[in-house]
């Protein structure tokens, strides 16, 4: 086996090192260039697709707008109906029927000698009534009946009671009717 003697070892060592580094850098640069070209073409393709997609979306929006304009009458009628029903729902309790309920209930409870002279209908099922009773016994009986009327009346409170000269009584009652 023969072995050559490298007489220029010191100089070649430096050259070889640089050459190796140059190969590495060349490889990296090609890799970067390749990746850059792939990314660049990807971006280009995305941009072309996105622009097409955007114009497709804009066309679809225009078509939808036109369809909505064609349905204008439906929209206007719907808005009007919704507004009115929302108002009726919040402002009026359409099923509460507080006036008729309270008149019917109290006329059922009151003896002929108890006269209800006034009804005031407040919010949330509250009714303020004023009335007269011929005597204390009849009045007490009426209050007892009101107290027992749990089906319709939730709370009953006497706010004023006045005895008149002839022995009759005037009273004011606050009643809370149950919601329907």
């Amino acid at each position: 086996m023969s072995q050559g003697i490298d007489l220029l070892r010191g100089r070649n060592k430096g050259r070889l090192k640089v050459r190796k580094q140059a190969v590495k850098i060349k490889l990296i640069s090609f890799l970067v260039l390749g990746l850059y070209l792939v990314a660049g073409s990807g971006l280009f393709v995305y941009l072309v697709w996105a622009k097409g997609e955007k114009s497709r979306l804009q066309r679809s929006i225009q078509v939808k707008k036109q369809r909505i304009i064609d349905l204008k009458k439906n929209e206007l009628l719907h808005l009007n109906l919704k507004q009115r029903l929302a108002f009726l729902n919040t402002q009026l309790d359409l099923e509460q029927n507080l006036a008729s309920r309270s008149i019917t209930t109290l006329s059922k409870l009151a003896d002929p000698q108890v006269t209800i002279t006034s009804f005031s209908f407040v919010e949330d099922g509250q009714v303020v009534i004023a009335g007269e009773a011929a005597n204390a016994l009849i009045l007490s009986d009426f209050f007892e009946k009101v107290k027992k009327e749990k089906k319709e009346i939730e709370i009953a409170s006497l706010t004023s009671l006045t005895r008149m000269e002839e022995g009759s009584y005037e009273f004011n009652l606050n009643l809370k009717f149950k919601g329907k």
């Binding site: 808005l79 108002f87 006036a99 006329s107």
Partner: protein, 243 residues
């Protein structure tokens, strides 16, 4: 001393990679980064337009699902319940017709001076109009208890809708009373923002559906054409509420 000569040929292999890096960085700064920015903007715009399209599709689906005939029928009832403008005379006439159908006597009405005058000077009705889409009415009439109760029942199912505020009963004879009634009637002008294409449309809620169902039990004592109710100042625009 001998000056050592720098060996440029040793670095020649770095020339091409150098040019590649230079080109990549230059074109990246000049071309790619602005394109990335514009693609980002495009992406955001597309997201907005997709949302807009979804909203319009939803609106179209809601509107397309509405039956025009049913909608017109429902609107007719809603407009009878809640007129577009203040109509104290219509309300009072409706109350009067209802009262007469219940055989109430001394049932008369007029409006308080300053608002509308009436020939029925002996009656005891006055109105005051406030700003809350309400007209307050004061009515008096006579009748027996059964008639009064039936009348109040009728009032609670009357079109246009009225709300009884108070009832004062003065007994004049046995089973004959004079009643002073205070009530309010409502009106509601048409929605202000009608028909903007991009505004959202929400379907009727459960409570609104229920309100409509309750409203179907209501009856008008007077037959009044909606056209006369809804006539507005001639603006040259189409009145779509003119059925």
């Amino acid at each position: 001393m001998k000056k050592t000569k720098f060996d440029y040929s040793m670095y020649r292999p770095f020339l091409l990679p150098g040019i590649i890096f230079l080109l990549v960085f230059t074109s990246a700064f000049l071309l790619v980064i602005p394109q990335i920015r514009s693609s980002w903007q495009l992406r955001q715009e597309m997201a907005k337009e997709k949302a807009k399209l979804a909203q319009l599709t939803q609106k179209e689906a809601i509107l397309g699902g509405l039956d025009l005939y049913e909608l017109e029928k429902k609107n007719e009832l809603a407009l009878r319940a809640l007129p577009v403008k203040k109509q104290p005379i219509l309300v009072l006439n409706s109350i009067k017709v209802l009262g007469e159908s219940k055989n109430l006597t001394d049932f008369a009405f007029n409006l308080s001076p300053g608002l509308v005058s009436s020939a029925a000077a002996g009656s005891k009705v006055k109105t005051s109009v406030n700003e809350k889409n309400e007209i307050e009415l004061f009515v008096s009439f006579s009748g027996n208890q059964e008639q009064i109760t039936e009348f109040v029942f009728g009032l609670e199912k009357l079109l246009p809708v009225v709300k009884v505020l108070s009832l004062d009963i003065k007994s004049e004879e046995i089973d004959f009373s004079q009643v002073d009634l205070s009530l309010i009637s409502f009106y509601l002008s048409l929605p202000e923002s009608l028909g903007t294409v991009e505004s959202q449309v929400v379907g009727l809620s459960q409570k609104e559906e229920e309100a409509y169902t309750k409203l179907t039990d209501f009856k008008a004592s007077l037959t009044v054409s909606l056209e006369s109710q809804n006539q507005t100042v001639n603006s040259g625009k189409e009145n779509i509420f003119n059925f």
